[in-house]
C-alpha cells in the first residue's frame, strides 16, 4: 500500500549508539585511564561528583538494569542468582538485575557483550525517593563487602514532597542543599581529591541545558506526523539517564533537536501510516519492544509518555495552562553555593517526582500531553517491576477515564519477562485498537 508520510532513519543514530557504548566501556576502563568510577541512580545528583575531575566515570543503575533486561538470557541468570541468595522475586526488577550481575560477577555492555568481573565502584553516590533507591545500593555494597571489597556510600534524601502551584518551602530546599554540601566534603574525604567548583558549575549548567533540550525535543512530537516514535526515543532519552551532566549529552541533544526540527519542516514521520496517536506510561517491558512494531501495523504511533518526557526532561506549566519546557535560570552558576542551590531548585520540579506524591498532578500532566500532543488513547503499563513508577497508577487510570480518554491498561514487568504475557497482551491490544475503529493495514 502507498505510504501516507515519508520516513527516514535518524542521521544521529550511530553517533548516539557509539556514545552509549563508550559510556559502558569507560566505566569498565576507568581505572586503566587513571580515573575514578562511581555507581548510583539515574536521578542522582550526578553533577556533584563531576567536581572531582574530568576523569570520573559513572554507571547509573536503572539504565544498566534495562540493558540487562534487554538481553533475556543474561536477565534470567541474574534473577536466578538473586532468588538463590534469598531475595523475594517481587522486588524492583532493575535492582534484581543489578544485584544479579554482582552475584554472577559479570558485566554486560550496551551491545550485550558479557565480560567477567563486575567492576566495583570506588564509591556509591545515590539519592532516595523510591523505597528501593537507597536500599538497592546498600545491598549492592553489602554484596561487595562479602567479596571483601568495601565501597563507601553516600545517599541524599530527597523525599521532601512535591509542590506544583507554589515553590517548595525553603526548609525543604535547604535540607537537600545541606546534604549535598556535606556530600562534597564526603567525596573529598573518600577519594582524597580536591574538589573543583568550576567543574561543578559546568556540570550543573550542562545538566540544566540537557534536561531542558530533551523537553524541547519531546515538544516537537506534537507535530502530525510525529517525527519520533517512542521506541526510538528510548535509545535517545537514555543519554540523559546516563550522563545528563556531561557536555557530550548537551552536544548530542542539540544535534538531535536540530535534526528533529528539520524532520518536522520536511514532514518526515516516524511511522509511515500514522493515523492513531497513543502514549504509554512507565518503563516498557524491555524484552518485548517489538510490541511497538506490532502497533505500527495498525497505523498507531506511540509518541512517548510522561515517563520518556519527564524522567529526564524538565517542564513547567505556563500561565496559559499549557505544559512546556522549563525556562533556563537567568545565569550560569559561578560559585559552589549557587551551583548546589540551582541544581536542587531545578531538580525538585522534575515531573516524574510529582507522581510519587500526588496522583492528581500526574493525571493532570498526562491530560496535558493528551491535549497538546493530540493523543487518541493512553496505554498504561501496570508495571510489576517498578513500584516507584507504578505507584498511584490505578488513580491515574481513574482520572483519565473520568476525563473521557480511552485507556488500555496492561500488566507487565520492565525487567522480568516471566511477568509479561506478550501474546495475551498483544491480542487484547489489537482488540482494543479494533474497538477504536482501527484495522490492520495491508502489508
Amino acid at each position: 500500500m502507498t505510504q501516507k508520510y515519508p520516513i527516514e532513519p535518524l542521521k544521529i543514530w550511530n553517533e548516539a549508539k557509539q556514545l552509549r557504548g563508550k559510556y559502558y566501556e569507560n566505566y569498565l576502563a576507568a581505572h586503566e585511564l587513571g580515573g575514578l568510577r562511581w555507581a548510583g541512580g539515574a536521578w542522582s545528583f550526578s553533577a556533584i561528583p563531576a567536581g572531582l575531575g574530568e576523569d570520573v566515570y559513572s554507571i547509573t543503575g536503572e539504565p544498566h538494569g534495562a540493558t540487562i533486561a534487554f538481553f533475556k538470557d543474561f536477565t534470567a541468570k541474574c534473577h536466578d542468582a538473586v532468588e538463590a541468595a534469598g531475595f523475594p522475586r517481587t522486588l524492583c526488577a532493575y535492582m534484581r538485575n543489578y544485584w544479579g550481575s554482582i552475584l554472577l560477577d559479570k558485566y554486560i555492555q550496551a551491545d550485550g557483550n558479557v565480560v567477567d568481573e563486575h567492576p566495583v565502584p570506588d564509591f556509591i553516590w545515590q539519592d532516595h525517593i523510591c523505597c528501593s533507591h537507597a536500599k538497592w545500593y546498600q545491598v549492592a555494597r553489602w554484596l561487595e563487602e562479602k567479596k571483601g571489597k568495601k565501597v563507601p556510600m553516600y545517599c541524599v534524601d530527597v523525599s521532601v514532597g512535591y509542590s506544583m502551584d507554589k515553590p517548595l518551602e525553603d526548609y525543604k530546599i535547604n535540607y537537600i542543599v545541606q546534604q549535598l554540601n556535606d556530600g562534597i566534603e564526603w567525596l573529598e574525604k573518600v577519594t582524597g581529591r580536591t574538589y573543583n567548583d568550576k567543574l561543578l558549575c559546568e556540570a550543573v549548567w550542562n545538566e540544566i541545558n540537557a534536561t531542558k533540550i530533551w523537553a524541547e525535543i519531546c515538544t516537537l512530537n506534537q507535530t502530525i506526523p510525529a517525527p519520533l516514535d517512542e521506541k526510538t526515543m528510548y535509545s535517545l532519552y537514555v543519554m540523559g539517564t546516563l550522563m545528563k551532566h556531561r557536555p557530550e549529552c548537551v552536544d548530542i541533544y542539540r544535534k538531535l533537536k536540530a535534526e528533529v526540527e528539520d524532520r518536522v519542516r520536511r514532514g518526515i514521520a516516524a511511522v509511515a501510516n500514522e493515523k492513531y496517536r497513543v502514549i504509554t506510561d512507565t518503563q516498557p517491558p524491555w524484552g518485548f519492544l517489538k510490541i511497538f512494531r506490532e502497533m505500527e501495523k495498525y497505523g498507531v504511533v506511540s509518541l512517548g509518555s510522561l515517563y520518556t518526557f519527564g524522567l529526564i526532561g524538565m517542564w513547567k506549566y505556563r500561565p496559559d495552562g499549557t505544559w512546556a519546557p522549563k525556562d533556563l535560570p537567568l545565569e550560569k552558576p559561578q560559585t559552589r553555593e549557587e551551583a548546589v542551590k540551582m541544581i536542587v531548585e531545578w531538580t525538585v520540579d522534575r515531573p516524574e517526582w510529582a507522581h510519587f506524591y500526588l496522583p492528581e498532578v500526574k493525571t493532570k500532566m498526562i491530560l496535558s500531553i493528551v491535549k497538546q500532543w493530540k493523543v487518541d488513547a493512553v496505554l498504561l503499563h501496570y508495571n510489576r517491576g517498578c513500584e516507584g513508577l507504578s505507584v498511584h497508577i490505578a488513580e491515574n487510570r481513574h482520572g483519565l477515564v473520568k476525563a473521557g480518554v480511552p485507556v488500555f491498561p496492561f500488566e507487565g514487568n520492565m525487567g522480568d519477562e516471566r511477568e509479561f504475557d506478550f501474546p495475551g497482551t498483544l491480542a487484547r491490544l489489537t482488540a482494543f485498537f479494533e474497538s477504536m475503529g482501527l484495522k490492520k493495514l495491508k502489508e
Partner: protein
C-alpha cells in the same frame, strides 16, 4: 485479674470501632486515623484528639482494585478497604507519616475517595542517618501543628505538647516494663498476649491503656502461666497483626519472646527526651527510633537492633516474615538472616499475604521448630 486484663486488650481490639465511637460520644472530641507509626501521636494528644491506627481486617480486599494496583502490599490495600467499607466513618481526619510508597497510596486514595474533613501527610525524612534530618523534621512537625491549629481554630500550647509527650512516654515505658517479663526463662506473658497489648494501645486512649498496664505490672510478678514455654522464638517483619498465626505457632510448643515489627517492640522502644524545644524533642525521637528499613541506610542499624534483641531475649530461632510485595523489608531479608546466623540464631522465612495459609505454614513451622530443638538429629 491478669486474665481479665488480657481479655480487656482483646476486647478493645475486637470492638475497636465501638470503643472509638463511644469515646467520641463521651468526650465530644476528634478522632484521627493514622496509618504508620511514624505519625507523632504526641502532637495529636496535644491537640486533644484521639489517634487510632488504621489496620486491616484480613479479608481479601477486592474493593481496592480500582484504586491500588495489586502489586502493592496487602496491608496498604487492606487498610484502604476498611475506609471504603465505611468502617472508620467516625474518624474526623487522616494523617500519614511518610514510610513507604505503599501506604502513601492508601493515604492518597483515602483523601480522594473517602469523605474526610482533614488529611495531612508528614514528610518524615528517609535519611535518618544524616545530621540534618532532625531539624528538618522539626519544621515538618511545625507545619503539621499549624495545619491542625488552622483546622480546629485552637492553638497547640507547650503545655499541650508536654501532656502529649507524657502520655506517649508513659504508655511506652509501661509496655517496655511488661517486656522485661518476656526475658525470663519461663516468660510471664506469651507472644500473642504481648501482641494484643501493643495492638490495643494503638486503638484506644493511651491514658486508659496505661491504667490497665499499671495494674498488669502489679499482677505480673505473681503470674504463673503453667505452660512449658518450649522454643524461644522471635518474629521479625513489617506490620504484623496476624493473631491467629501467633496463637497457632505458640500452640506448637513455642513462645514468641520478642518481636521486631511496628505492632510490637518497634512501636515502644524509644521515648521522647523532653527539652525546651518540644518539636525538636519529638523530631529527635522519630528520627532516632528503631527505624523502618525504608529509612535505614546506609548502615543497617535495625538489623543490629534485631540482633541485640535476639541476644537480650535469649532467642533460639526467628521467623522472618515478608509481607508479600513489601520492598523495604524484603530487601533486607538476606542481610538480616545472615546477621542473626552469625550470633547463632537460626531463621526461617515466611511470606504473608492478606490471609495466612495456616495448613501449609504449620508443617513448615513444625519442621523449623524440630530443627531448633535438635529432634531431627534423633532420627
Amino acid at each position: 485479674m491478669t486474665e481479665e486484663i488480657f481479655q480487656q486488650f482483646r476486647d478493645w481490639i475486637d470492638n475497636r470501632h465501638e470503643y472509638a465511637k463511644e469515646w467520641k460520644e463521651r468526650t465530644n472530641k476528634k478522632i484521627i486515623g493514622y496509618l504508620c507509626t511514624y505519625v507523632p501521636e504526641e502532637i495529636l494528644y496535644a491537640a486533644d484528639m484521639l489517634p487510632v491506627r488504621i489496620l486491616g481486617s484480613h479479608e481479601p480486599p477486592t474493593v481496592t482494585e480500582p484504586y491500588i494496583f495489586a502489586m502493592f502490599c496487602h496491608l496498604c490495600r487492606d487498610c484502604l478497604a476498611q475506609g471504603l467499607k465505611g468502617r472508620f466513618n467516625y474518624i474526623d481526619g487522616i494523617v500519614e507519616g511518610q514510610s513507604c510508597l505503599h501506604l502513601r497510596q492508601t493515604f492518597n486514595a483515602w483523601r480522594l475517595h473517602i469523605p474526610t474533613n482533614f488529611a495531612h501527610y508528614i514528610h518524615i525524612p528517609h535519611g535518618i542517618q544524616n545530621p540534618h534530618a532532625i531539624p528538618y523534621l522539626a519544621q515538618e512537625l511545625a507545619k503539621f501543628k499549624k495545619t491542625l491549629e488552622d483546622w480546629t481554630g485552637k492553638k497547640i500550647t507547650n503545655e499541650g505538647l508536654d501532656k502529649g509527650i507524657k502520655i506517649m512516654n508513659k504508655n511506652r515505658e509501661l509496655m517496655r516494663k511488661v517486656h522485661e517479663y518476656r526475658k525470663l526463662d519461663n516468660p510471664k506473658i506469651t507472644g500473642i498476649e504481648a501482641m494484643e497489648m501493643v495492638l490495643s494501645s494503638q486503638m484506644v486512649d493511651k491514658q486508659e491503656h496505661s491504667k490497665l498496664l499499671n495494674k498488669l505490672l502489679e499482677e505480673l510478678p505473681n503470674r504463673n502461666l503453667n505452660r512449658n514455654p518450649g522454643t524461644r522464638l522471635m518474629i521479625i517483619g513489617s506490620e504484623d497483626d496476624d493473631r491467629v498465626f501467633m496463637k497457632n505457632v505458640e500452640a506448637l510448643g513455642a513462645t514468641f519472646v520478642i518481636e521486631e515489627h511496628c505492632t510490637g517492640s518497634r512501636y515502644l522502644w524509644d521515648d521522647v527526651v523532653p527539652s525546651e524545644d518540644r518539636l525538636m524533642a519529638i523530631a529527635s525521637r522519630y528520627v532516632n527510633r528503631v527505624p523502618c528499613p525504608s529509612k535505614d541506610w546506609p548502615e543497617f542499624t535495625r538489623i543490629q537492633h534485631a540482633v541485640k534483641l535476639a541476644k537480650d531475649f535469649n532467642v533460639q530461632g526467628a521467623l522472618v516474615i515478608q509481607n508479600k510485595f513489601c520492598d523495604p523489608h524484603g530487601i533486607e531479608i538476606p542481610p538480616l538472616r545472615e546477621a542473626l546466623k552469625q550470633v547463632g540464631v537460626q531463621t526461617y522465612p515466611l511470606e504473608f499475604d492478606v490471609t495466612v495459609p495456616w495448613g501449609q505454614f504449620r508443617t513448615r513451622v513444625e519442621a523449623f521448630l524440630e530443627t531448633l530443638t535438635g529432634l531431627e538429629e534423633l532420627f
